[in-house]
């Protein structure tokens, strides 16, 4: 055997061994992903073409695309739920963004007690959502809740809050905004503190007011960070479950029913596992679509800024 061939074999063995070593780094994670993620997602996709009540006696029955047709043409709760899901997400993410930027600006410069304030406003988002929902339920209780107690004491009309089809969704939005504004504030603050100094110095020389420099320098520089924050929050907001389930279960009427709670109800209250699976597929497509839009936006913004 020619000497150079031996080297080649040796390098290819080394190469193979390397590949194997590298693969061993991801192998455990990969197995986990296949068993715990890929199987359920595939099974769900399969189930979406079947009808099944979960019966041990009757196997899932193939129904073609019936579940999808039902969703788009017959269900009178699907489109309202889509609308609410987007309304909810749009309102809470916008509000969280605006309040978050405001709070981040307030916290930008150090002051005595700076860390304490930052720590305190973290509490809403780390506190257990189920526990927090219970506290809100007590505060919003129309007869014994503190909000109506205050309204009554200052001579205003008590409100039904969650007991009103027109108010309930907005109340839930308020709770979500309360819970997640701190995250926007923290991300924005971190973004603010990592901004370069030079554009500000230039602006100062040009005599720009602080408001001007905010809108013309700070905000544009923050856009990539903010877009990522909005992306993360939007994904979570679209999937909001804990607070809606524990506080209204989609009611009163169906006024707070979103895609996630509708899917849950279909699967675990109506025992329509096939229809629930179809809804989940569509829901997943929606979340994915929204994510892709934001990711594209972010990419194009960074590219424009790099130019």
């Amino acid at each position: 055997m020619a000497p150079h061939r031996t080297t080649q074999t040796r390098t290819s063995i080394i190469h193979l061994r390397r590949r194997f070593q590298r693969l061993s780094f991801i192998l455990p994670a990969l197995i986990f992903v296949v068993v715990m993620m890929a199987f359920p997602v595939a099974y769900n996709g399969w189930l979406s073409f079947h009808e099944w009540t979960g019966s041990a006696r009757r196997a899932p029955e193939y129904v073609g695309t019936d579940n999808y047709t039902e969703l788009f043409t017959q269900s009178d709760r699907f489109f309202p739920a889509v609308k609410r899901t987007f309304l909810f997400t749009g309102v809470v993410v916008t509000a969280e963004l605006v309040f978050g930027i405001g709070i981040a600006l307030l916290l930008r410069d150090a002051f005595p007690g700076h860390t304490v304030v930052k720590t305190l406003i973290l509490l809403p988002m780390v506190a257990t959502p189920v526990a927090i929902s219970m506290a809100w339920l007590l505060m919003l209780e129309p007869t014994i809740g503190v909000f109506n107690k205050i309204l009554r004491d200052i001579g205003l009309t008590p409100q039904p809050w969650l007991g009103s089809q027109s108010q309930a969704l907005w109340v839930l939005m308020a709770v979500d905004i309360w819970q997640w504004t701190p995250m926007m504030a923290m991300i924005t603050l971190a973004g603010l503190l990592s901004l370069p100094e030079d554009p500000y110095e230039a602006a100062l020389v040009d005599g720009a007011s602080s408001l001007q420099s905010f809108f013309h320098i700070t905000l544009p520089l923050l856009v990539p960070t903010l877009l990522t924050a909005v992306l993360l929050r939007s994904i979570e907001a679209l999937k909001t479950f804990d607070i809606i389930y524990t506080m209204t279960r989609g009611g009163p009427g169906f006024s707070t029913e979103t895609l996630n709670t509708l899917a849950y109800v279909r699967a675990f209250e109506y025992f329509r596992l096939g229809q629930a699976a179809a809804l989940l597929v569509v829901f997943f497509a929606i979340v994915l679509g929204v994510s892709v839009i934001f990711i594209q936006m972010r990419r194009s913004v960074s590219m424009r800024q790099a130019l």
Binding site: P40, A110, K118, I121, M125, A131, M134, A135, A190
Partner: protein
């Protein structure tokens, strides 16, 4: 987190004219005004963010009668806490929550750290994408298939089922935090170690991991908190013996009317550990929550 020095460093001074002195005084006035406005705003913000937590804590010390009575006053009582521990077996649920959160976090680290390292160093980008997809898939999608899977394996209601389910949140999160961090580590150190004959695993364990302690802290703390707070998966997968706190609190809405005091006492007990962690580990929590948003 990024340090504050950048923002607080005084900006360079320019030479001052007389006119400038006047305007400086005016500016000083304005700054005092601005400072007080800021103080007031901050106070309002803190009140808004803390109020529900404080109200929850206050109600935990009131009797049912005090809570439902129209007035404001109450006589503090510890009975709710007493009952939570004696009647509702809360200590056990706390133990369950702790066990599940700790083990699922540990296992997620075990799987996630090498995975993240491989994604950062060996460019298994597709794995990164798949793991991030876990954040997008609605959690309900997993529930029925898991249940069937776990029953076949005879694991329903066991800690194993719970731990595995919680890892679906923790593991991708850990990867999400760690990949950019590993990418940011200087390659040279690892390369020189390799030249000195260290194996891939050796480099990872002895070089990369020790350099990553802060990021690992962040990932660990956040993963623990997510698991501690998880409701939906535990609701379906936990058994009577393995029930975690968020599900246990649901038992306070019993057939015998809502026991608000007990409910709030339980809520306080669930939230307390997370609050303590947050207060002492504020830095890591912040970087965990902002992870991924502040790069490039």
């Amino acid at each position: 987190m990024t340090d504050l020095s950048q923002a607080t460093t005084p900006r360079p001074h320019r030479p001052l004219s007389r006119q400038a002195v006047m305007s400086k005084r005016r500016a000083q006035m304005r700054r005092i005004m601005a400072e007080s406005v800021r103080a007031v705003l901050l106070l309002v913000i803190i009140v808004i963010f803390l109020f529900p937590v404080i109200w929850m804590a206050l109600a935990a010390f009131q009797t049912q009668i005090d809570i439902i009575s129209p007035g404001w006053g109450f006589t503090p009582t510890l009975r709710n806490f007493d009952r939570v521990f004696s009647e509702y077996n809360f200590l056990r649920y706390m133990g369950n929550s702790f066990l599940v959160a700790a083990v699922s976090t540990a296992l997620s680290l075990l799987l996630g750290l090498p995975g993240a390292y491989a994604i950062a160093r060996f460019h298994y980008d597709w794995l990164g994408v798949v793991l991030l997809a876990a954040r997008i898939v609605p959690g309900i999608t997993f529930l029925v298939p898991w249940y069937i899977l776990f029953s076949r394996a005879g694991l329903n209601g066991t800690y194993i089922a719970l731990i595995l389910s919680h890892m679906i949140v923790s593991m991708p999160f850990i990867v999400w935090v760690m990949v950019p961090f590993f990418e940011g580590l200087p390659l040279e150190v690892e390369e020189s170690a390799r030249i000195d004959g260290a194996t891939m695993l050796g480099t990872f364990v002895r070089i990369a991991l020790p350099l990553s302690v802060p990021a690992i802290m962040t990932a660990t703390i956040m993963s623990f908190i997510f698991s501690w707070n998880n409701f939906m998966f535990s609701l379906v997968l936990s058994g009577d013996d393995t029930r975690t706190l968020p599900v246990a609190i649901f038992n306070f809405i019993t057939y015998a009317s809502i026991d608000w005091g007990g409910l709030m006492a339980a809520a306080v007990l669930i939230t307390l550990p997370v609050l303590v962690i947050t207060v002492f580990m504020q830095r890591y929590v912040v970087s965990g929550l902002t992870a991924g948003a502040i790069k490039g």
